[in-house]
Symmetry: C2
Subunit: 209 residues, 2 copies
DNA sequence: CGCGTTACAGACTGTTCGGTCTGTTTTGTA
DNA sequence: TACAAAACAGACCGAACAGTCTGTAACGCG
């Protein structure tokens, strides 16, 4: 089915994502997407019944990649150390390492930001996938924090779900900081700060007894 | 000049801000703003030569209020305690207290988010006011952190500018979390987490010597 | 090779958009 | 009260928009 290298549908999705990350979904016109992906009206509306359907497809694909990264990096962290507190710190350190690439690839932006402001997509339940992705991050991290809290007295008085969410919050906030100040290193430095803050809160693990 | 209660220009700005916070600037049409503020095409383009000029006015007004809040709350914190580390913690606690109101007033959103994605406004230097606001937060907080670092050994190895920026990052990230999960308490709980993280990092102040 | 189906191409359409223009009312001031 | 300037009202305009329609080329498969 693909005429050249990549299937048309994928080319449309790739270029639509690029344009949306750059200037937002509402400000990106269908004609622009078509032009950028060397496609046509016919091809576009063959693959996507409406612009909203493109949005849904974009968001779904993006959220899947997001959760996949969460899982992959957590497994890497688990392979590095056994102690759950250390795993969380290592998890953040891994993202810190690729912070600059994330910013470059995503043009200092996150698709979630565009779509939580889209009326159409929030009206039907399309933005639910964002909630699911957030919940995935929260669940996975909170589980580690609960395990860590058994040997880390500093965690016992803390809302561990909120603390888990703070990782997501740091990502989203850092995207905005990076974009607003045109500073690509913001993601890396904010993840580093998050790791240092967490390190201080975790403290030294206490032997049982 | 005002026919009824509030001047037309202010009514336009208020309603434009409401609509922009709700669904983004690009997705908010001039006609909508006019209808919401019971105004007319003539009135609108009398006060604002173009939609971009409305955007600039919105952004400027918003950033001014933002920096004003920074200054006001920092002064309150300074009135509560003399020690700079404690001042930072109290500063965050003050915002934590009104976290729910912030979310409600601003519909779980921040104008900065809409405008960092606007091509037109970023092309000319209009989004520079965002940078200035961010710098104001960074400067004011970093100054406190530097002072605090004299008696707080936990701060000596930390990038204090990045740590100062993390407050802004937490705000922006919390807005997105609150919007995406439809949870108005997210701002409050994230500010609380930030305060607890900072508290752990600051540690106990050491007497000189 | 025949043929239905999928994948495209691009002219076209109705609507909405930002912005203009002409005219009317209100207001500050002398 | 006269009058210029500011504040508004709303019909109007061309461009851009999302989406449609008709037609054609390529493929899968018997």
């Amino acid at each position: 089915m693909p005429r050249n290298g990549k299937p048309t549908r994928d080319r449309i999705l790739d270029n639509a994502q690029r344009l949306t990350l750059d200037k937002g979904f509402a400000a990106t016109s269908v004609d622009e997407v078509i032009a950028a992906s060397n496609s046509s009206k016919g091809a576009f509306f063959h693959h996507f019944p409406s612009k909203s359907d493109l949005g849904r497809a974009l968001l779904t694909r993006y959220a899947e990649a997001d959760v996949a990264a969460l899982v992959a990096f957590m497994e890497l962290a688990e392979a590095t150390t056994e102690e759950p507190g250390e795993q969380v710190l290592e998890f953040i350190r891994l993202f810190e390492e690729i912070g600059d690439d994330i910013i470059e690839e995503q043009q200092s932006s996150c698709l979630y930001v565009s779509f939580v402001h889209d009326r159409q997509l929030t009206a039907d339940g399309s933005t639910h996938v964002i909630e699911e992705a957030i919940r995935a991050w929260r669940t996975r991290l909170a589980q580690k924090l609960v395990a860590a809290s058994l040997t880390r007295p500093g965690l016992t008085t803390i809302d561990l779900d909120a603390l888990a969410d703070h990782v997501f919050v740091t990502f989203e906030g850092a995207f905005i900081l990076a974009r607003a100040t045109a500073d690509p290193s913001a993601m890396r430095s904010q993840l580093r700060i998050l790791r240092e803050l967490l390190h201080a809160l975790l403290g030294q693990p206490q032997p049982p007894g």
